[in-house]
């Protein structure tokens, strides 16, 4: 009997020593450049959301880049080839990350700069600006208008901070929210902020998520609502959101959502895009990546946000004037103009 028990112990120990291979097959970790190229290409092929909108021929991309590999290629060269392949998607939500570099498409580097916060601080904010949580804000000189600078959607917006700010500017004739060069962050902050500017639950956009291997396989249109919340609200007065090509990701979602809200207007340049939610994953060689897996649509189910949301009024900075912010000036004019009207109408 003792030998019988010993045998069971032995079987268990032997099975367990090599259990991962025995139960799950071989370890897929690999530094082989072809294995990593194929893994990344396939992941993008099976899950990326914007092949047709951007007219990217992903099969041709494979044919162009795979021949550049060889079995002895350096890590640096492999990273360059994989990163360049991803940049063919023209998507700043698409990155490759290794211990020594991060690949970026960097859409805004070729666009005109439309923001200098020093000009706003020095020539527009009355006395000293306030910093409340993630916001910098103040009254605009010679105007009864509030200015709120929101530079990133990263971090959490505190409800008490929003209450404080909206109560402070409760008696103004209009509010300016500056999202220029706001590269995005936490999507939940979009809902927190916009929920203060409506009294009714509003449908503001739709989203679809890749749900199959075909490049046009998507799930149903999912409605995205903004619901009123919080103690302090800013209603029935104009809110102007300043945007530029540096307004990316959550800023683009925010801009898209405002298109469905009657009291919010966009001024500046088109947003930088980033209308897809990026995922995250790891290659067999340990490097990590992300790319967009969802599409966002306006209320007419038109899909344009990935390439940027148009402003209601285009405007750009004139850098010959180092003391003037033309985009902010136009926002002040529009709010003043609105306040002087008696019929509460505002032309987009």
């Amino acid at each position: 009997m003792k030998s019988w028990f010993k045998l069971i112990f032995l079987i268990l120990v032997l099975a367990n020593c090599s259990c991962t291979k025995w139960f799950f097959g071989k370890d897929l970790a690999s530094t082989d450049p072809f294995v990593n190229f194929d893994y990344l290409w396939n992941e993008v092929d099976r899950k990326y959301a914007y092949f047709s909108l951007k007219k990217v021929d992903w099969d041709s991309v494979r044919q162009a880049y795979r021949p550049k590999l060889n079995s002895g290629i350096s890590q640096d060269s492999l990273f360059y080839i994989l990163g360049s392949m991803l940049n063919e998607l023209r998507d700043d939500h698409t990155n490759l990350m290794s211990p020594f570099n991060i690949s970026r498409y960097n859409q805004s580097k070729n666009e005109m700069d439309n923001f200098d916060y020093k000009i706003v601080q020095k020539y527009y904010i009355y006395e000293t600006e306030y910093t409340t949580g993630v916001f910098q804000h103040g009254f605009v000189k010679k105007h009864n208008i509030g200015y709120i600078r929101y530079k990133t959607f990263l971090g959490d917006i505190s409800e008490s901070d929003l209450d404080y700010i909206l109560e402070r500017y409760g008696n103004t004739i209009g509010l300016i929210i500056d999202l220029r060069e706001n590269g995005g962050g936490n999507f939940v902050n979009i809902l927190k902020l916009l929920s203060r500017f409506t009294n009714t639950k509003s449908l503001v956009m739709y989203n679809r998520t890749r749900n199959g291997p075909g490049r046009e396989d998507f799930g149903p249109f999912e409605p995205f609502y903004i619901s009123p919340s919080g103690k302090a609200r800013y209603i029935d007065k104009p809110i102007i959101v300043l945007i530029d090509r540096g307004s990316y990701s959550a800023s683009t979602f925010f801009a898209l959502a405002t298109k469905a809200m009657d009291n919010i207007y966009l001024i500046g340049d088109k947003t930088g895009g980033g209308g897809g939610l990026p995922n995250g994953g790891q290659l067999p060689n340990g490097w990590t990546y992300r790319f967009s897996i969802t599409q966002s649509y306006d209320l007419k189910k038109v899909n344009y946000a990935e390439e940027g949301v148009e402003p209601d009024h285009y405007c750009q900075m004139n850098w010959l004037h180092s003391t003037r912010d033309e985009i902010l000036e136009l926002a002040l004019d529009k709010i003043t103009n609105f306040a002087q009207r008696t019929d509460n109408s505002y032309e987009r």
């Binding site: 268990l12 999507f187 998520t209 999912e222």
Partner: protein
Amino acid sequence: MEDRKIYKILIISVVLLLGATLSYSQSKYIHICTSPGISHFRDLATSPLYYKGNTISFSGGYLKLSKERLSGINIEYTTGGHKSNYNGTNESSLFHSIDLSYKLLFPIKIKIGEKTSLYAGGSLVTTTNFRENKALHNNSFGLENITNLMLASLIEKGTTSGHNRGSKFFVELLAGIANMNYRPGYAYSYMPAINETTIRALAGYNFSLSGFRFKAKAGYRKKLPNGNMMALFYNFDVYNAPGKYEPFNYSRHSVSLSLIFKYK
């Protein structure tokens, strides 16, 4: 339709197992246990690499022993950090797991040796894992549930020496016969999951009736003069949860020290 089948299997299993424990003359015990161990997991939806780490479990529950049957409920919490260090990359994943199990075993009257007893029956095990790996960006949060209806067998061999009377060596083996898992959908992350200031973390999740699970225990249980018991044993748990799209693999080896108190 498949989800309905899965719910039916679960409900019928629970009813059958609990129904079979109706009052019998039996000894009742509560037990507490701690189990340091080593575990590996791989979520092929987000990474082809294994994450390995040291984990520790704390568990408790009760046991009912009678001549007719052996039954028990156990709840176990496991936690630990897991790492993947490969090709100069160092990524880590926090891992928490809650495991609930119920087992019911009946003696098999086959003579296989002196002071040796054989039991067979079933067990229902449900495990929920929570993982966080910040390197995976919007896929950093991983959650899955694995529920298994398992065939269970137990072999016990009593010791003969006087001062150890009632103490036993034991080997327990469990093999999944109905393996269910609840795993993320095709895209893993879903934009619709973010809505109305809340995150619907389980958007896109699917039930699947697939995979396997195997559990084993082997060790020694010593009976103390006051009727309480103490056990030292080796544990092994391995499962594959394929989901509808990409599988989750897990294995754990641990050594357990258990204190078993008789209260009736």
